[in-house]
């Protein structure tokens, strides 16, 4: 096994994370200066880090909650403004859609009425189909049919 690989295992051994080859690593550490240094570094770092600790102010949690409440109240105002704007935009879109629909429906109805009028007046159709060249019989027939409609 290469030494670099062994050194990695030594680091795992130091941390109690090595599952296999434990005896091999223990024997190696006893004979290898470089690996002994890794163990020594671990002790020094562990000791140093745990030696010098600090404590925060007992009022920290109160301060955090006060800041959070302030942020929340500001957030609530913005939420209200954003919510109101959103509702206004939705209402305007709905009004636009309703007006457009009404316009389309009324246009379609008017076309249908025009068609209905044309269908109800054979005299006009006849005039159109003959290009205005009517015989006396045609005129008589149209007059009678219009009279019937009335």
């Amino acid at each position: 096994m290469r030494h670099a690989k062994i050194q990695k295992l030594v680091s795992e051994y130091i941390d109690g994370e090595l599952k296999n080859n434990i005896e091999l690593i223990e024997r190696h550490i006893k004979t290898c200066d470089e690996c002994k240094q890794l163990v020594k570094v671990h002790y020094l770092v562990n000791e140093t880090l745990k030696e010098n600790t600090i404590e925060v102010s007992p009022y920290l949690s109160t301060r955090i909650q006060a800041i959070f409440k302030e942020q929340k109240s500001q957030q609530n105002l913005w939420d209200y403004i954003i919510g109101f704007s959103r509702e206004l935009v939705i209402a305007l879109i709905l009004i636009f859609l309703v007006l457009t629909s009404i316009r389309l429906i009324s246009k379609e109805t008017s076309v249908k009425i025009d068609e209905a009028i044309l269908n109800e007046m054979p005299s006009v159709q006849k005039v159109i189909s003959t290009g205005g060249d009517l015989t006396k019989d045609d005129v008589l027939e149209l007059t009678l049919s219009n009279g019937e409609k009335k």
Binding site: V41, N46, S61
Partner: protein, 193 residues
């Protein structure tokens, strides 16, 4: 208040905090504030900003409490927020340092970094100072993994969750951190004897 929450398990306390119970949140802050503060202190190495950053950790925690999933332990989640805030702070400091250095060089083109070598011995300086200085020189990702292992005594899998990385990467970072420290401390021969 303390007694009430001590009888509840962590999931119940978090649920209460999620539902807006201020006392539950206060309990969480009080339980973790010193651990978070010390982790920040060890990673950044500057006591003057520890309280501000601790405050930031818990404010970020309240903001994202609704997104918290009960899959991981609360401390894993809080430590992840802490590490992220520390990394942001380290980056911010690096940018500031780079800026001030370029500022100085542009103002005085002849200025050069000092290379004066000071003879260092264990007798001259406190051992703790030497180790702390060596740790502070480690790359942030190595330093964070090493501190979570050596200071918090966390197992590799928990460190991996906090750092959102693989266990193999954690092993490797801790090993490299120790190697770099050993290299650095070679100057102080008495230390590694």
């Amino acid at each position: 208040m303390k007694e009430k929450f001590e009888t509840l398990d962590e999931v119940e306390i978090i649920q209460l905090a999620k539902d807006g119970d201020e006392k539950a949140f206060e309990f969480i802050v009080k339980k973790y504030q010193n651990r978070v503060a010390n982790l920040i202190f060890k990673i950044i190495g500057d006591a003057s900003i520890v309280e501000d950053l601790t405050q930031e950790v818990f404010l970020r925690m309240i903001e994202s409490l609704k997104e918290y999933r009960f899959g991981s332990a609360l401390y894993t989640w809080i430590y992840r927020i802490t590490v992220n805030i520390c990394i942001d702070e380290i980056r911010r400091r690096k940018r500031l340092r780079a800026y001030s250095l370029s500022d100085v060089l542009s103002q005085n083109p002849k200025a050069e970094p000092s290379h004066s070598h000071v003879e260092k011995t264990v007798e001259q300086r406190e051992m703790r100072e030497i180790i702390e200085e060596a740790i502070s020189k480690l790359p942030p990702e190595y330093k964070t993994a090493l501190i979570l292992r050596e200071f918090e005594d966390l197992p590799y899998d928990e460190i991996a969750k906090i750092l959102k990385t693989r266990i193999g990467t954690v092993k490797s970072r801790i090993f490299r951190a120790r190697k770099l420290l050993a290299e650095h401390l070679k100057e102080y021969k008495d230390l590694l004897k």
